[in-house]
């Protein structure tokens, strides 16, 4: 009995410390109930009065009515596998039995007791029921007991089937003992009340057994807890090591209390002085001011919708060094599906970001250099292109000046001349503008919707002089309006210029076998929407690409233009540009001697209807007559 008390108090304390584990609350109720039942049974054995005996039996039923539901609820909480309907039925029947205990007579067992006999039990003289009239409602108690047994047996079997060793141990010891001991208690009580067994009421003994079985199982839990505590400590040490070595912060944000916990080494990662009562608002003050609203949006969305969160942001208030953090986390919800806790990690990625930025800068510089060098190679023909309108302007202006001096001045002719000068000036301006955009270093970083027809037309007009000088022809006519793709106008034009120049060069290349082609370069450019995006094919009439070269074509510094100034960077840079815009650039396999075909595939821009870029920077020529 003392042991029961100790166990009861122990579990009560555990429950007080951790109110989430309801099982720990029920266990002391069971233990205390059984102690009380034991006391009742002791009283039964000692008393000589039939009235006291009846009253005590009735009290015993009340205690039983407390211990049994507590046991069932204990099993329910601990196993988590019980059938709720069965549970309700068993508890309901037991409650009905308690009610019947008081309503149908002096106790559920007996309507009356005529006499008590005294017998010798374990060397002591104890009272037992002599002549008595059994209460027929005792069957209700027996039915309730059967319901209890069925419930516990069902819950135990389910737990056993779930399979893990810990669960099985629990199902066997707690569930098994409960079933066996319930049966035993029911048998003892039944036999005694039927007058078959002449022995004192000792129902509490099987229940002591139950408490012991439960304690045995719980002690395993304690053992496990100790083990877990040790493992937890080790794991915490490992985490702390990982945290400090990797500049990693662990954080938790209790949403209701708005309290943020950060691992000891994590404060430095966020650049915050450790504080016990850090709230979200104070935390946000440490986030870089340009990233605050964006981060707030991401956090809000993950709490309210997605449940998970990944973000890169900068920390460092004004005047502090700025660092990049990459954070990810998950929202944990309570039973009602409300978000309660936001847990995650943050890592300092400043170095990585710096490297990335530097790499992007270098890539952009390389792209720019390649563009400028392409334009350098085109300088002759570009000068020709530009000098054409200038030549016309100069001639017209000089004729105009002569005409003004004549008497009378031929005003109609002068007007014609001026109109021609205006047109040619616009044309020269357009050419200079196209070149300027290609020379420009700082192209837009953000991707914008692009009309590929405009890109191709722009590239061809830039290359017009070069194509003429090489006696080439290009077959292209802008077809139906295309869906816009996302990218940068200048970079895409660079890719097209590169492919067209390669195509023009291809005719001069020596094929693996056979004579060098004496044909003039003839390119075909096709652009059309496909299911994956928009496809541009640039086909030439050169010797084609050998399978060996096809594999190495996009490698940097690989060139087939031996000794003709090919750096071997054009295709690798073009490929990089197209990939940055989410597309692909590939050389289609072709029969040797049939010319090469390069295919660009760019995904269609998603979203509402866009106003497309149709020139390198939205420049449009002044309208006529202005």
């Amino acid at each position: 009995m003392g042991a029961c008390l100790v166990l009861a108090l122990m579990h009560l304390l555990v429950w007080c410390r951790d109110r989430r584990s309801l099982a720990n609350l029920f266990f002391p109720v069971i233990a205390l109930g059984i102690i009380a039942m034991g006391a009742c049974e002791l009283q039964l054995m000692r008393t000589g009065s039939t009235e006291v005996y009846l009253e005590t039996v009735s009290l015993g039923h009340l205690l039983f009515g407390i211990v049994v539901p507590a046991s069932l609820l204990f099993v329910h909480c601990l196993f988590g596998t019980g059938n709720r309907g069965l549970l309700a039925l068993a508890i309901g029947l037991r409650a009905a039995a308690v009610v019947a205990n008081y309503m149908t007579g002096p106790s559920l067992h007996f309507l009356s007791i005529e006499s008590l006999d005294r017998i010798s039990f374990l060397g002591e003289s104890v009272s037992i029921v002599g002549q008595a009239i059994e209460n027929p409602w005792v069957r209700l108690g027996q039915i309730a007991a059967i319901a209890q047994i069925v419930y516990v047996a069902d819950a135990s079997l389910r737990l056993w089937r779930r399979g893990n060793a810990l669960d099985r141990h629990r199902a066997f010891w707690i569930g098994g003992s409960m079933v066996v001991l319930f049966l035993l208690a029911m048998a003892i009580a039944g036999l005694i009340s039927a007058g078959v067994l002449r022995a004192p009421m000792l129902v509490s003994f099987p229940f002591f057994g139950m408490v012991l079985a439960i304690s045995y199982n719980m002690s395993r839990d304690l053992q496990r807890s100790a083990l877990l505590a040790r493992e937890l400590e080790a794991s915490e040490r490992r985490l702390a090591l990982a945290g400090s070595a990797g500049r990693l912060a662990f954080w938790e944000w209790e949403l209701k209390k708005n309290r943020i916990w950060i691992s000891p080494d994590g404060w430095a990662v966020f650049g915050i002085t450790p504080a016990a009562d850090l709230g979200f608002e104070r935390f946000m003050e440490h986030v870089h001011k340009d990233d605050r609203s964006r981060l707030e949006e991401i956090v809000q969305e993950s709490v309210e919708k997605t449940g998970s969160y990944v973000a890169e942001f900068r920390v460092g208030r004004t005047g502090e060094p700025v660092r990049w953090l990459s954070a990810s986390g998950r929202v944990e919800k309570n039973g009602a599906g409300e978000p309660v806790l936001f847990r995650g990690i943050a890592i300092d990625v400043t170095r990585k970001k710096e490297t990335e930025t530097e790499a992007a800068l270098q890539r952009s510089e390389l792209t720019h250099l390649s563009r400028v060098s392409t334009l350098g190679a085109l300088s002759g023909t570009l000068a020709h292109e530009l000098n054409q309108p200038l030549a016309a302007i100069l001639s017209n202006a000089q004729v105009g000046r002569r005409r003004i001096g004549s008497d009378p001045p031929d005003l109609a002719e002068i007007e014609d001349i001026l109109a021609d000068i205006v047109e040619d000036t616009k044309r020269a301006g357009g050419i200079v503008h196209g070149m300027r955009a290609m020379f420009a270093k700082d192209t837009a970083l953000d991707l914008v919707p692009i009309d590929l027809n405009a890109v191709i037309t722009g590239s061809l007009s830039l290359l017009h002089g070069e194509i003429v000088a090489r006696k080439g022809t290009v077959d292209f006519s802008p077809g139906d309006p295309l869906p816009p793709v996302m990218g940068g106008f200048v970079e895409l034009q660079q890719v097209l210029v590169n492919l067209i120049l390669n195509g023009l060069d291809a005719c001069r290349e020596e094929p693996e076998s056979g004579p060098v082609s004496r044909e003039a370069p003839c390119l075909r450019i096709r652009v059309e929407p496909s299911k994956d995006g928009v496809v541009i094919d640039v086909a030439d009439n050169g010797p084609g690409i050998t399978p060996g070269n096809r594999e190495r074509l996009f490698e940097p510094f690989f060139s087939t233009k031996s000794g003709k100034g090919g750096l071997g960077l054009g295709l690798s840079i073009s490929c990089g540009i197209v990939e940055r815009f989410g597309g692909t650039l590939e050389a289609l396999s072709s029969e040797p001697g049939n010319g090469a075909v390069f295919r660009i595939l760019l995904p269609v821009a998603v979203g509402e209807s866009f106003a497309c870029e149709t020139s390198p920077d939205g420049y449009t020529l002044p309208a006529n007559g202005s």
């Binding site: 002759g380 023909t381 020709h384 000098n387 054409q388 100069l394 002569r402 021609d420 003429v468």
Partner: protein, 206 residues
């Protein structure tokens, strides 16, 4: 004789501007968008002083190729090349091929008209020269074989007696032939006769 200027350039604006300027300079002018178009209308022979302004870089038949083709025409017109991009190799080739000059666009009016004048003058000379040599050939053709033989010796500065010895003729006969040569060739002195023969490359035994 009125001079004729042709402009061959693929750029319509350039053609219009240059044509105005050339007309302003007082020349008849006609423009073509390509070398092919120009060759198609080409007269069987140039009869009046002609100068062609040709753009070096054109689709199809380029400037230098046009120059080659023109060489097969009798008394080819003068060519002034223009380019917006004067590369040295192309300039050298153009000049070797007999171009009057090479102008880089944009072209100043005085340079252009000066080059045209130069080109016209050169062609005019060519036409005149070709008229003169034709006459000399005709005169030479009117001589008898004996007279041509005699003329061959006369222009070497040989005396009648020497010629008679060489041709195994009487000195009087040689004198007679010589008088005929001078008359038929329309010259009064041996010096003039030498100049005519020199102009057509006539030598003894030729």
């Amino acid at each position: 004789m009125e001079a004729q200027v042709y402009i061959i350039d693929d750029d319509a604006s350039v053609r219009r501007g240059l044509a105005r300027l050339v007309r302003e300079g007082g020349h008849a002018v006609e423009s073509f968008a390509s070398g092919e178009d120009f060759l198609e209308m080409l007269p069987a022979a140039f009869t009046r002083p002609t100068c062609a302004l040709v753009d070096l870089q054109m689709p199809g038949l380029g400037g230098l190729e046009l120059q080659e083709r023109l060489k097969s025409v009798p008394n080819p017109c003068s060519i002034v090349f223009m380019s917006g991009n004067g590369s040295i190799p192309a300039t050298v080739q153009a000049m070797k091929g007999g171009a009057v000059t090479f102008l880089t666009k944009p072209i100043h009016d005085e340079d252009l008209l000066g080059a045209i004048d130069e080109g016209l003058a050169a062609h005019r000379r060519l036409l005149t020269d070709s008229t003169q040599t034709g006459e000399i050939h005709r005169r030479i053709a009117s001589l008898t074989d004996r007279e041509r033989e005699t003329m061959g010796w006369v222009i070497t500065g040989a005396l009648n007696k020497q010629i008679a010895g060489e041709l195994e003729l009487a000195e009087r006969t040689v004198k007679f032939h010589r008088a005929n040569v001078m008359e038929k060739m329309g010259v009064a002195s041996v010096a003039d006769l030498v100049r005519l023969c020199d102009a057509v490359g006539f030598v003894r035994g030729g």
